[in-house]
C-alpha cells in the first residue's frame, strides 16, 4: 500500500512540475511587464505558445544531422528528471535516492553539453557564438555550483537533497556566514544557468548578445516547443532548489496526510511566486553585462563557494 502511495506522490510531483513550469515563466514575464508599466501577455501565454509550436511543422536545415533531431528530446528528458529529483512540496520521495545534488548538477551539465553540440551542428557562425560562450559560462558556473554543494554537504554531512532539507529544518543548523555566502553564490549561478538578464537576455534575438537563443536559433516547430519547455523547467528547478534548501518550511515529511500535501503544495506555489517576482524585479533593475565581464561575475560565485567551504573547514577545528 505504501508503495502505491509513494508512486502516486512521485507521479504527482512529476506531473505538477511539468504543468507549473510554463505558468512560472508566464508569471515572471507578467510581473516584468507590470514593473515596466505594461499590461504584458496573460500568464497562460506560454501554454498557448507551446500548443502553437506543437502544431507547426519542423523546418530542418539541409545539413542537420540525426543529433540535431535527437538533442531536444534528450535535453527535455534530462531536465525533467533533474526537476523531478528536486523536492518541491515533499521530501524523501521514492526516487530521491537515485541522485544527490552533485548528480543533479552533472545532469544539467549534460543538458548544456547536448545543447552546445546542437548549436554547432548546423555549421552557422551564430551556433558557434552561442556554444562557445555557453561553454565559457559553464566552465565557471559548474565549479561554482560544486563548491556550493561542498559547503552544503559539510554543513549537513551529506550531499542528498532530502537529508540537507531535513537538516535545515532541524534545530541545530544555527546561523552560519557560509550559508549566507552560499545563498548569494547559488543565486548568481541560477541567473547564469537560466540565461537571465545580467548574463544573457532571454527576450531578445540581438545577434551579438544572445547565448542561449543562439544555440536554439535553427530549431522550429515541436523541437522548439520541447526546448522552450525544458528551459522553463530548468528555471522552476533552480527556484525550487533554492526554496527547498533555504526556506524548507512546509515541506511534507514522508507519508503524511492529504491535508499536509495540500498545505505543502500551496507553500511551494507561494515560494515559486515570490521567487519569480524577485527574479523579475532583479531583471528590471539590472542591465545586461558585456560578455567578458560575466567571468568576473561568475568568478565571484566560485570564490563565495570556496570561501564558504574554507570557513567551514576552519571553523570545524576551532
Amino acid at each position: 500500500m505504501a508503495l502505491i502511495h509513494d508512486l502516486v506522490v512521485q507521479g504527482g510531483q512529476l506531473l505538477l512540475v511539468l504543468l507549473m513550469a510554463p505558468l512560472l515563466t508566464g508569471f515572471v514575464r507578467k510581473v516584468k511587464a507590470r514593473l515596466l508599466r505594461r499590461r504584458g501577455a496573460p500568464i497562460i501565454q506560454p501554454y498557448r505558445d507551446l500548443a502553437r509550436l506543437l502544431q507547426k511543422d519542423v523546418v530542418l536545415a539541409d545539413n542537420a544531422s540525426w543529433l540535431f533531431r535527437v538533442a531536444p528530446y534528450l535535453i527535455f528528458a534530462a531536465t525533467w528528471v533533474a526537476a523531478a529529483l528536486v523536492p518541491t512540496f515533499a521530501t524523501s520521495l521514492m526516487f530521491n535516492w537515485t541522485a544527490d545534488l552533485i548528480a543533479i548538477a552533472a545532469l544539467l551539465g549534460s543538458v548544456r553539453f547536448f545543447l552546445a553540440l546542437a548549436g554547432l551542428d548546423i555549421g552557422t557562425s551564430f551556433g558557434g557564438i552561442g556554444s562557445s560562450r555557453e561553454m565559457m559560462i559553464a566552465s565557471l558556473a559548474e565549479p561554482a555550483i560544486l563548491m556550493i554543494v561542498f559547503t552544503l554537504a559539510l554543513v549537513a554531512k551529506s550531499t542528498q537533497l532530502s537529508t540537507i532539507s531535513d537538516f535545515m529544518l532541524s534545530s541545530h543548523v544555527g546561523v552560519r556566514i557560509s550559508l549566507g555566502l552560499v545563498l548569494v553564490g547559488l543565486i548568481i549561478v541560477a541567473i547564469a544557468e537560466n540565461a537571465r538578464v545580467p548574463v544573457d537576455n532571454p527576450a531578445t534575438h540581438l545577434e551579438l548578445t544572445m547565448v542561449h537563443e543562439a544555440m536554439v536559433l535553427e530549431y522550429s516547430g515541436r523541437h522548439l516547443a520541447v526546448i522552450e519547455l525544458a528551459a522553463s523547467l530548468k528555471l522552476l528547478l533552480y527556484i525550487s532548489l533554492i526554496a527547498c534548501i533555504f526556506t524548507p518550511w512546509g515541506l511534507v515529511r514522508a507519508d503524511a496526510g492529504l491535508a499536509a500535501y495540500v498545505l505543502g503544495s500551496a507553500a511551494w506555489v507561494a515560494k515559486l511566486a515570490i521567487g519569480g517576482a524577485l527574479l523579475a524585479l532583479f531583471e528590471t533593475v539590472i542591465a545586461k553585462m558585456r560578455v567578458f565581464r560575466v567571468p568576473t561575475f561568475l568568478g565571484a560565485a566560485l570564490m563565495l563557494g570556496l570561501l564558504g567551504t574554507l570557513l567551514l573547514f576552519v571553523s570545524r577545528s576551532l
Binding site: W80, I122, M135, F313
Partner: protein, 669 residues
Amino acid sequence: MSAAFALWCVGLLLVAAAIGTAIPRRHVATPIVYGASLVASVVALAGALAALIGPAPVSTATLPLGLPWLGAHFRIDALAAFFLIVVNLGSAAASLYALGYGRHEPAPHRVLPFYPVFVAGMNLVVLADDAFTFLLSWEFMSLSSWALVMAHHRLRENVRAAYVYLVMASFGTLCLLLAFALLAGVDGAYGFEAMRVRDAGPVTAALVLTFALLGAGSKAGLVPLHVWLPLAHPAAPSHVSALMSGVMTKVAVYGFIRIVLDLLGPPEWGWSMVVLALGGITSVLGVLYALMQHDLKRLLAYHTVENIGIIFIGLGLAMAFQAYQVSWAAALALTAALFHVLNHSLFKSLLFFGSGAVLTATGERDMEHLGGLIHRMPLTAFTFLVGCVAISALPPLNGFVSEWLTFQAILQSPDLPPWGLKVLIPAVGAMLALSAALAAACFVKAFGITFLGRPRSPAAANAREVDRFSLATMFAFSGLCLLAGVLPGLVIDALAPVVGGLLGDRMPVQLDVPWLSIVPIAEARSSYNGLLIFVFITASASLAVYVIHRFASRVLRRAPPWDCGFPDPRPITQYTAGSFAQPIRRVFGTSVFLARERVDMPPPGDRRPARLTVELRDLVWDMLYVPVAGAVDATAGRLNILQFQSIRRYLSLVVAALVALLLVLAIWL
C-alpha cells in the same frame, strides 16, 4: 590465474614479435601479429579477471634470468590482477582495432615487430616482483614505445618527439632506480618481499616518495614532467597512441602505487599534500593545454594529463587519510582513483580509436580541416560522442561515477587535523571541479568542430566509414563505458580486494544496496544510482517522443539554414577550434599561457585579408626545459675548446695533475 600462466601469455606475445620481425612486409604478417596479440591479451584478461574475482591466492613464479644471485621474480596479487585487467583490456581492444587499422599502415616493418613487445613489456611491469625485473620491463616498455613513436621517422618532428620522449623516460627510470636503491638498502635486497619487511626511516621514506613521484610521474605525465606526452603520443600510430595514453600511463600509476602504498610503510601526511597539489595543478593545466590545441590527437594526449591529475588527487587523498588511520575514507579515495584508472583507459582508448578512424578516413589530424564527418561516418561519430560524454563526466556514463566518488572522498576530509590539508583539500576540490567543467568544454569543441557543421576541406567532404574491426572495437568500448557507468556497484566490489590488500580496509559492499545504487559512506547516505538515472532519461525521452508524435504534427521540411536571414554562408564562416576556445582562452589563457592576440587589419581599400595571430607560450617548457638544455649546451660549448689544444697544453694538464697529487701526498702524509 598463476604467474606462470601470465608468463606464457607474455611468451606468446614475444613469439608474435618474432614473426613481426621476420616477415614484416608480407601482407599476411599484419593479421598474424595482431591476431596473436589479441588472443594473448584476451587470455591474459580472462585469467586476470579470474584472479581478481575468484578466491585465487597470491601466486608467484621465478625465472633464472636477471641478477645472478636473485633471479627474476613474478607475482600476481589483487593490485597486479586489476592492472593486468586494465592492460590486457586495452591491448585486446587495440589489437582488434589494429586488425582493420593496420592495413593502411605505410611502414608495417616498423610497427609489427615492436607492438607485441610493447604489450609484453607492460604486462611484465605489472607482474614483476623485484626491482631489477621491474626496471628491466619498465625500460623495455619505454624502448618499444620509442620505436613505435619513431615508426614514421621521415617527419622531423616525430624524430624530435621520440628523442624528447626517450630522454624523459630514461630520467624517469633513473629516478625509480634511486627509489629502489633506497628501498633495497646497503646489502642490495632487491626483492619486493624484502623491501616490504625492511621499514625505511622517515627521511629515506620521503626520498623514496620524491623519486617515485619523479619516476612514475614523468611516465604518467604529471605537470612539470608532462612535456613529452603531447609530442610522443600523437606521433605513434593511432592504436599505439591509444595504448600509450590509455594503458601505459596507468602502468606508471601502478608503479607509483606499488612503491608508495605497498613497499613503503604508512605514509606521512606531508607527502599527501605534495601529491594532492601536483594532482590538482596537473588536472587544471592539462585540460587548459588541451583546450588550446587544434590537432585532435594532441588534444587527446594533453587531456590524458588532466585525467592523470584526477587519479593522483585520489591517490593523494588516500595517502592523507591513511596517514591518520581513517582507513574507510582512504579505501573510498583509493577506490575512486582505481575506478578512474579503469574509466580513463576505456574512454581514452575509445577516443584515440575514433581519432584513428578519422585519420584513416580523411588523412587529416588538424580539426581546422575537418567538420561534417557525422554525415559520412555516422557510426564512428556515435561512438566518439559516447566517448566525449563519458570523458566529460556526464551522469549516465562511467566518467561521472569516478569523479562523484572522488568528490565524496574530498567531502570526508574536514576532520583531518593538519592545517595544510584543511586549506589544500578544498582548493584541490575547486581545481577538480574546474577541470571537469573545462573538460566538457574541450570535448564539445573536439566533437563539434570535427564531426558537426560542414566539411572544411575536400578530404573531410568525401571521407568514408572505417572497416568493421575498428567499429567493433569502438562499439565494444562504448558499451563498456555505459556498463561501468550504469552498474558502478559491480566495479567497486571488484576493486574491494585490491583496496583491502593495500590499505587493510575496504568500502562497504555495494551489491546488496537496494535498486543497485551505490552508497559510499553508510551514515552520510548520499547515494547515486546510475541505472535508474539512465532508465528515467530514456523513459521520459520516449514518453515525450510518443506523446508528441501521437498528438503534435509529424511534418518535417528541409530548407537552407535560417542563420538570422544571412545569405547561404560558406563553410569558412563556421566556428573553428581556435575561435571556439577564444572566450576560455581570454578568461584563463592570458595568465596561464601569456596568450597574446595580434590583429593585422589591412588599411581601408586594401584587398588582402585581415590576419589574427594568437601566440601562446608554454611556460613549463620555457621555464624548465629551455634553461636546462641551454645550460648543457653552454657547458658543452665551453668544454669543447679542450678538444683543440696543442700537445704541450695536454702535457701541462698531465704534469699539473701529477704535481697536484704529489702536493696532496706531501700535505696529507
